[in-house]
């Protein structure tokens, strides 16, 4: 029994927190049937690890150690609370699942009960909760972020986020949202809600709505970890494969999206040699698999579009007809103004700026795109290429009013300066 150095133990606990938090919490919820108590017990287990692992060494399976510690603590809490509390479990569960009396030695990922995290994430993303509550609960319960961290990620104050999380947890308990893996019949719809949350986390992190940095790294990494976890839990699901592929292929370009001084670089300007080839290879394999499902899922098609870019050696070689064809399928299966906008941009590259502009003009009346800065930005780009400078300026000026992201603002302001007829 050699004493482990404190720094090594702290690093091991931090690593376990990152990898195993959701597993430990999800298993503990089945004992406590109360999210708050389970969170406390899981937190206590991680705190206990900091001292225990110094004396006894870091266990071979940290997740199993932490789960056992958290569940043991949960049983103690339940005993202290007396029987009456157990008659009123806050969360409803399947009858077939072992209750509080079950064995304490369930292992982490891949062990006897791999579904626990799936139960937890479908509960966090239950359709009876609004999207902001789903996102907040997912970050808090699945990723183990503190309320302060969740608040920071969504640029709201900590009391606001705390109130949002408390309300959501109360609704789960009082309205009795079940802690259960949905039936095969309901599963696709429920998984779709989960994927929507993971995708929103990624896009929020990928281009933050405001602030100085283009990418909020932590949200991107957490969303990819969640997608990987879902892939392990639902290996046959083509929508899950498609989403993971989309995130990997988009994130592969991360390092090249801004240039010196944090300037925004368009796909056209990015140094493709610096794209993450490992992520692209993994993403492309997943796309191939996801596209075998008929009809293809929305995420598989979006990932296929990202894959075309990822596998093309240079901007000039881009097969825009292929990309337009993929957008055509996507528009047919999932019509949305945002997809139509992206398709119009691809049309502009496949068939020329005039045709792209015509495709965009059909979208200007879309209420969903009012206030969406990418529409005037795309118009500005086509007008600029057509030499219609005054109109291009107007479009870029409109786009500038619609984004709070500092990097995007600088890009648009730069375009305006270039087009200035009378530079001072």
């Amino acid at each position: 029994m050699t004493d482990e150095p404190a720094s090594a133990v702290a690093a091991a606990v931090a690593d376990a927190h990152r990898r195993e938090w959701a597993f430990v919490l999800a298993a503990t919820v089945r004992v406590t049937r109360d999210l708050d108590v389970a969170e406390e017990c899981a937190q206590d287990a991680f705190a206990a690890a900091l001292t225990d692992w110094r004396t006894n060494g870091v266990p071979a399976r940290p997740g199993a150690w932490l789960t056992t510690a958290a569940k043991r603590r949960a049983l103690n809490v339940l005993r202290h609370r007396g029987v009456e509390r157990r008659h009123l479990p806050l969360l409803v569960e399947d009858d077939v699942v072992p209750g509080p009396g079950e064995a304490l030695d369930d292992g982490p990922a891949g062990a006897q009960l791999p579904d626990d995290r799936l139960r937890l994430i479908v509960t966090c993303c239950h359709p009876a909760l609004d999207r902001t509550a789903q996102v907040a609960l997912t970050l808090r319960l699945m990723c183990g972020l503190s309320t302060a961290e969740v608040a920071r990620a969504f640029l709201v104050s900590e009391p606001t986020m705390a109130a949002r999380i408390t309300r959501a947890k109360k609704k789960i308990a009082v309205a009795r949202i079940p802690y259960r893996v949905p039936s095969a019949e309901e599963l696709p719809e429920r998984v779709d809600a989960v994927l929507g949350v993971v995708h929103l986390l990624f896009t929020t992190g990928h281009t933050t709505p405001s602030g100085d940095e283009l990418v909020r790294r932590d949200l991107v990494e957490r969303s990819i970890e969640l997608a990987r976890m879902l892939r392990r839990l639902l290996p046959e699901d083509p929508a899950v494969a498609g989403l993971l592929a989309l995130l990997l292929l988009t994130d592969a370009r991360r390092e090249t999206r801004t240039g010196p001084g944090g300037r925004l670089l368009l796909l056209e300007e990015q140094d493709r040699a610096r794209w993450d080839r490992g992520a692209i290879a993994e993403g492309v394999d997943l796309v191939r698999e996801a596209l075998r499902a008929r009809p293809p899922t929305r995420y598989a098609l979006q990932a296929a579009i990202a894959a075309v870019h990822a596998e093309t050696p240079s901007w000039d070689d881009t097969d825009w007809r292929e990309i337009v064809a993929l957008y055509d399928v996507l528009t047919r299966l999932w019509p949305s103004p945002v997809v139509a906008l992206n398709r119009a941009v691809a049309v502009g590259f496949a068939r020329g700026a005039a045709e792209g502009l015509a495709a965009l003009d059909g979208l200007s009346a879309e209420p969903q795109l009012a206030g969406y800065g990418y529409l005037p930005a795309a118009r500005g780009s086509f007008l600029r290429r057509l030499g219609r400078t005054a109109e291009a300026r107007e479009a870029y000026a409109e786009a500038l009013l619609l984004t709070e992201n500092a990097v995007e603002r600088e890009f648009l302001a730069g375009r305006l300066r270039e087009l200035d007829p009378d530079p001072t």
Binding site: H126, A128, A175, R176, I177, P178, P182
Partner: protein, 114 residues
Amino acid sequence: MTQYMILIYEDEASYENASPELLGEVMQAHNDFSAQVEQHGAKIVGGEALQPTGTATSLRAGSDVTDGPFVETKEALGGFYVIDAPDLDTALAVAKLCPARFGGVEVRPVMTFD
């Protein structure tokens, strides 16, 4: 089991102008609904249809009696069911079947006092 109230909100004007055939259809839909609830693992323990809001009288704390509903809305509370269900998913599955062709329904857990 938890009790949930399914509150039915509908556009009253649609019923004022409804033909006897349509009213018969709505009645039949409610009968069919009642017959299906148990197949979903829930049970109806109560429910009523209400007279239109034109017959309502409201009393607000500290003010006079007024003629009309407490809140004026296009879709007004027109009736309710109280069901026993094991969880919200079951209650929502039942609520999805509840007839409300001129509006929709709201599901609320009933408070319990120990």
